[in-house]
Assembly symmetry: D2
Homo-oligomer: 346 residues x 4
């Protein structure tokens, strides 16, 4: 029985509380939250819980073997570092931390001390992602030509993460799971509607060594929620609509074959359009599987699937994407400042 | 009765043939196509038709008052210029021509001679676009924050247009109709899967003077066809799915209101989620309306809705987008050449 | 604070346990279930709960003001009668009881003693049903011509209710809410696939005094779940698809107008096809609203919306439908016994 | 080259005109229609056509080898009989004729003279029906337990066919193709909203020798068109939604297995829920295939798939269904006349 302390009872912290409580191999022994009313509610619920105002105090509690951090991203690094120093295993809500330098240090410390450092990229435990991974790796889709994600909704604006750091980690963890490589080059653009300098819409294009291009359309400005990922290959195409209850994943037995260039002006690809299959996916909740995976890795029962290095790869890509996005926004700003607007009269 | 000659009987030319034949105010008197078997089929169909191998001969035919050009884009400029020189009204399949310099000359000649020059941007006559225009201009959507178009399918690869010049004119004509202004700044990225240097996927971001950003996701590589345009505003959001037979246009009575900055770290917008309405749209075929509009403009019965200037604005934006896309592809190429691929091992 | 005891912790009983526990005006003080493991689980959960093996003992507990019965239908009558005799208010899972004679007695006793007798027809508290009721009663749909329900899924076969008694109460409660009248005539047919004499598919046609006909297609044999109710009127048509998460209720501004008979062979109706609207529905859980309504009625704060008389009307219609179904099945059996099957060879 | 004459240029006749004209092995030599404006339009279109006012005159024309009848149902018998007497092959729009006695005579005459008599049940040539037939006959669906059809729309009220005779022939031809047997027993109910004694809604239940039950929900009163057929078996379930453009046919790898009765009160079936597959269907137009089939049967190139005997089986079932429907409507009428309406006050 692993004794776990949970820091942060906000939106995702509440889900973690539920998942940790439901795991038979985990004893949730301590909770920390800065808000007094949250602490009072927790105390009333279970008298045996050790309740803290300050996450650092919880981390220092000797009754705690491992900590789960669902605190603001800006706090992840300091809290995780203290926890690793005290010999505690750590699971951190995505993203792992706020910079690749921070990630380097956390990974190094965890490896030095032989502790489990897990980034909570819950989608790695989603049955549709696992199925997509099987399709990609088995060659069922053929050679992948593109990954296209639309992830838009009304955003929960937070002070310390913009739309890129809020939504892209999901796609980056899925891309890492499917293709096991980082982009060679990143192009980005976006817009700041609500807070200047703080993008609420971001469009990202990732170039990889092979023929694959990935595109992410991320937005906090859409009243209609969309969660759609398409993965196109030479043999088949998969479309995952996470909001489709009945048939979330569809595999189109359709593809594009590109023949070697013959003696003609342009290459005409061959198309094939076939049937559509929607496999039945497992019904386990991804977060419950993620929490159980954290327990198993600590207990030495499983090899880590979402370790600190994966968390670091994602933070590294976020950092690069942020740079590309900043440059693009700056280009746009300059153009807006200089140019007289062209109008219909032109 | 206006006597019209049609040049080019390819994919779109056949549709124009049908639409021109069905219009009671138009006499389709002449046809030109380079392929002998096409000319033979036409001759068998109607003995009174004047049939030409060479478009220029048709254009010179004194029995022809106006010409419709459904020829390759590379031919548009020369053929349209000759037609205008001969005093013929011209309707040109989109895009109007291959460069803004060409467009400048065509517009100047048409205006000099008082002739009708119409770019066949058929979507301007689509009931959903007309309805969207009413929603934008009446203020029903509030202040527009974004336009998002996904236009993907298996492409008909052609030697003289890439995916940008093939698909973007649709969105550009719709943007022009809705917002009556050209982008101040364009960001682009994309990929060439099939033919080097010839993009088959393009992602475009347009910045405008106001708070609106527009994004186009264009692809010839998707076995699943998508035709979805979302227009989000502070008061309502409209989503047009052109493949939804029953309810193609949905107006979500949902919006985001951004309040002036108070004394806090970030602005939190107000959200409102309401009902969804799908208005009944007219059933007239857009191409039939476009052809009738050409006739009316020639006859002085209507002011032009899709004139040479509109066609020029779209060619100008295509040209700028192509430049941005070329630069982005070059950046990606350089990065690929230099960088050692980062892999999972990192 | 009303002290409530809950009898029966099966599928629906567990939902009632959750809803009763969450209601701040209700003290759930006692539970009864025949299964020892269920009782043990409950005892471990809360030491203050009074736990019984036998529902009758719970009903007799003087600490209990009101009982909620989620026991098998065959037990409803005896348990509810005892509860009313002991002066307890009663809420009974649908259907109220197994015959109209039983229902008569329960209604009479409740009225004699001035006690609340409520049948748990949860759909009466569903936002879509409430909206449909407003549409019907306000005249927005015009004169109603038909009600069509398809309610099919894989059935939970139980010994004491067939598909009619399991699924029809939902539609009957909705019909009662919308139209406030019982059918004048019932036609039925069906089939027994799994257990002889025990229908697992039933088709019902209800004739009413006015021009409305209602049809119910009920099945336990369909792997694909369908929950679709259409209500057609002269002015508008409403379609409620309970499995459509985003737009469960659609109001089609389309209708059929029947003009008085002119001097021609048959009457040709006028059709009108217009827009479609999907109103935003409230998000409260119907069962929570039903439980709160039970509390309010007991406390004298609300007039009953689902009282014993409503429960009786539904049992009465079920009884009549069962008779019609039995007759139809007997006709089919006779025909099968007598007739030599006609085959393709004929 | 078979010389064909077409009688009747109404809604379906126009489709037949198009299909007959497009068939390279058929010479459409003669047309008949009672309306002068229709005849004038046809004459203008093709000067070589032999055009008649009276279908009987066309049938007697020695230049005609075979006739296609798209005339009102009431005329089918007399016209087809004359045609067969004159030695002409006949294709008749569904239903074949108005009674089984008429059908008997037509079948006898066609067989006596060795002529082709084909009922135009176009759905027999629909790729989804052909696929369903393969699924049923190959055993892929397992033992069939039910067939459920919903076929509702706004009706084209005609003087000589009610909703049963208009819509049921489609389902009856599909049932005949899938199961090759006639129902042993028929239950029916319905309603007459527009014209007394002339049903515009009909509900039919067919009992067959085996465990299958079929249900048809037919309506002319629904503004929302539905064309949905579900076929459920022990191994799989197929759902055909004819209005779903992308995935009209879905095969659910889900089923119900009924085990032999053990020593318990009721049998509990086993359920299995699996993936969903949407096979790619051929794109040929069913009517074009039907017309070509007529040609092939006449030419001795194919065995008939929709002959007079099939047409007769369907008319026979329609006749029996009409009787059951009449009886049901009479029961409802009597009940309405006698009973005082029960109201909420009861």
């Amino acid at each position: 029985m692993i004794r776990i302390g949970l820091c942060g009872l906000g939106y995702w912290g509440k889900n973690l509380l539920r998942a940790l409580s439901a795991n038979a191999g985990i004893a949730l022994v301590a909770l920390a939250d800065a808000k007094p009313e949250v602490r009072e509610g927790l105390a009333a619920r279970d008298r045996d819980l050790r309740i803290y105002e300050d996450a650092t105090d919880l981390i220092g509690d000797p009754e705690v073997d491992a900590v789960v951090l669902a605190t603001p991203v800006a706090c992840h690094f300091a809290q995780a570092r203290v926890a690793l120093e005290r010999g505690k295993h750590v699971m951190v809500e995505k993203p792992l931390c706020a910079s690749s330098a921070e990630a380097d240090e956390l990974v190094a410390r965890a490896e030095l001390h032989g502790l489990t450092l897990m980034a909570d990229h819950t989608f790695l435990f989603h049955p549709a992602v696992i199925k997509l991974g099987e399709l990609v790796r088995s060659g069922a889709l053929g050679q992948i030509s593109y990954f296209d994600s639309q992830r838009v909704n009304l955003g929960l604006f937070q002070p310390d993460v913009n739309v890129l750091w809020d939504l892209a980690p999901h796609d980056l963890s899925i891309l890492d799971h499917l293709f096991a490589c980082e982009p060679v080059h990143i192009e980005a653009s976006g817009h700041c509607h609500v807070n200047p300098g703080f993008p609420d819409i971001a469009y990202l294009t990732f170039h990889y060594p092979g023929p694959m291009v990935a595109h992410l359309n991320l937005s906090w400005m859409s009243p209609v929620k969309v969660r759609r990922i398409a993965v196109g290959g030479s043999a088949r195409m998969a479309v995952w609509d996470d909001l489709n209850r009945d048939e979330p994943l569809k595999i189109h037995d359709s593809g594009i074959t590109i023949h070697p260039r013959q003696d003609r002006e342009i290459i005409l690809p061959n198309y094939r359009i076939g049937s559509v299959t929607s496999p039945r996916l497992g019904g386990d909740e991804p977060l419950a599987l993620a929490v159980e995976h954290f327990r198993q890795v600590i207990a030495g029962e499983a090899a880590p699937r979402s370790d600190g290095r994966l968390g670091r790869r994602i933070v590294r890509t976020l950092e690069r994407a942020q740079t590309a996005l900043d440059e693009s926004l700056e280009r746009a700003r300059s153009a807006m400042a200089c140019a007289a607007p062209r109008t219909v009269a032109a």
